[in-house]
């Protein structure tokens, strides 16, 4: 230490007062650059997580679409057997159409919470209608024995299962995203960059769980 004090002053006569301005400036610049990089990091993480859950939704979407495509076939097959149950069939078709349009809106904007809520509600209604339909078809052994009907039931069952397994992945991804988004420093910027909270995909109708368990 002594050496430094002795050797420096004669060569360069810079006072501490001269340097302090530069030091402060340097520190400020460093902090600013650090903050910028930090914000970029947060932004990129949020983008990544958002992409992940929208991609996970795409998996659900494929299956939802498939189910919506299968249901008219099912109703068409059942029509011949359920001549006196027009109301139930119409209910199914109505619920199906509603769910199909809700699906299209949600697929266009999976990050939009309101369209996701809408889809959830209409899928719940569809599940309810389907439960009613299957409960009814229990009383028609001919319908149950119909080869076409059996095939369609199997396809619907697998689609239901795929939706529920894909839903697990989607909800996990949403949870990751929402948690990251709500944590402190990120929460400040999330609103700034328009990262809105994502919605879970749960089907509200409790009978939904029974729907895939159709035994023939």
């Amino acid at each position: 230490m002594e050496l430094i004090f002795i050797s420096i002053p004669p060569i360069q006569r810079i006072t501490f007062g001269d340097m302090i301005g530069w030091i402060i400036l340097g520190v400020i610049v460093l902090i600013l650059v650090g903050i910028v990089f930090y914000v970029i990091g947060i932004y990129n993480t949020l983008v990544q997580l958002r992409n992940r859950f929208t991609n996970a939704f795409a998996q659900i979407d494929v299956q939802l679409k498939r189910r919506h495509d299968l249901i008219p076939n099912l109703v068409e097959t059942a029509k011949g057997y359920l001549k006196h149950e027009k109301e139930t069939l119409e209910n199914v078709i109505k619920a199906r159409n509603q769910a199909a349009s809700a699906r299209e809106t949600a697929a266009a904007h999976p990050e939009d919470a309101s369209s996701m809520q809408n889809l959830r509600a209409s899928e719940g209604a569809l599940a309810g209608a389907m439960t009613g339909f299957f409960a009814l078809s229990e009383a028609y052994p001919d319908l149950k024995a119909n080869q076409n009907m059996m095939q369609l039931t199997e396809e619907l069952t697998t689609t239901e299962n795929k939706i529920s397994f894909a839903r697990q992945a989607y909800n996990d991804a949403v949870m990751r995203y929402n948690t990251d988004r709500e944590q402190f420093p990120a929460a400040v910027f999330a609103g700034m960059f328009n990262f809105l909270p994502a919605e879970y995909f749960e089907i509200e109708d409790p009978t939904e769980k029974i729907a895939p368990k159709v035994s023939f």
Partner: protein, 432 residues
Amino acid sequence: MDFFEAQDHAQSRSKFLVLYFFCAVLLIIAAVYFAVTGGVFYYQHKLGTGASPPLFTGLRLSLTAGIVVPLICFGSLWRTSQLRSKGGAGVAQSLGGRKVSYTTQRPDERMLRNVVEEMAIASGLPVPEVYVMDHETGINAFAAGFGLSDAVIGVTKGAIEQLDRDELQGVIAHEFSHILNGDMRLNTKLSGWVFGIVMLTMLGRGFWRFIGGGSKSRSGSGRGIYVGRSRGSGGGGGGGDSKGGAGALIIAVILVAVLITMVGFIGEFFARLIQAAVSRQREYLADASALQFTRNPEGIGNALRRIGGIHHDSVLQNPNASEFAHAFFAKSLTSEVSFLATHPPLKKRIARLLKDWQGDYLKPRPPLKKQAATKKKPNRGSTAFGDAMGGLGAESTNGAQGATSDNFQQMLTAGLFMQCLGNYSGLFTENS
């Protein structure tokens, strides 16, 4: 059953077991070193030089290691690549599997494919090819392939006919977790190491035969390696020293060969023991993961109960099944000694899956599924009995044949040890 905890437990257990395996290989190298040392001691003693040789020399160790390590490595690499080369599809075909097409219209196959796709989504893996073993009436399934890209899943006819949708889902989920956890890869590597140790036995036997053959040819035609020795003894004179030396050398080499063969046998036994223990741990792990994928303990639990309930249980008739026993859902061989078994006992597995299991099994369910089967195969009813009866007698002989021909092929391809072929394959059959 907390499946995450169960997964951690099984994973750390099998890591330990793999560590044991490496220790076993190291011990074998040490044992071979001592065998060689014993031979050297004997030789020196017979020569009567008086001074006993040093117990440890760098040259001897590097010579031993220089032969044993490459031998085991070569053996294991060769075996691994041989097992790998088949690929998942090749294994499935050798087990009598028939590929199920994506567009199949048969209801039972459609369901199978759908269940596989469901589990692919649940486990986050690509959809593998699906095979059906049409000639197997036991309830079983397997996963094969070295990695994700060539993974396949196969199911027996019995599984399709006997299991309902949820049970089948549990079985398929179990197989998916074998793929996800890299169990086939692990087992291929372990099989490779076991074979590397087997090669040691073959080396010992090769030595033995070489000398035995040499002395036989000497007595027969008077020619061969030891001609010089017999002439020396006849001529007398200064041959006395070299005569004793050569005799001692032969006995020393035989001693070493016998010791190496013994080390090889003991090593192989323990290696198989460890491999079986690893396999059993991986089965528990796969059960736990199946639960994670399906969130339905009844599915896989009832599938196991149904295996316990049918007369034919999970045994396979295809002779190639013995080689891939570890990849199946339940045990595939009739005679499994408990400590060499690839699968834990059925009861233990069910008890881990179903909390309040009373120890009862499920009865076979032919009526409903049989109807569907009769449409496809008119004489199904009559063959079922024939299958069951034929299977009883055929299994044991098939198993033995499979083991023999398999080893036969190994030896043939190995080329190096052609001379001890007859001996070895005979020995193996006695053992198995």
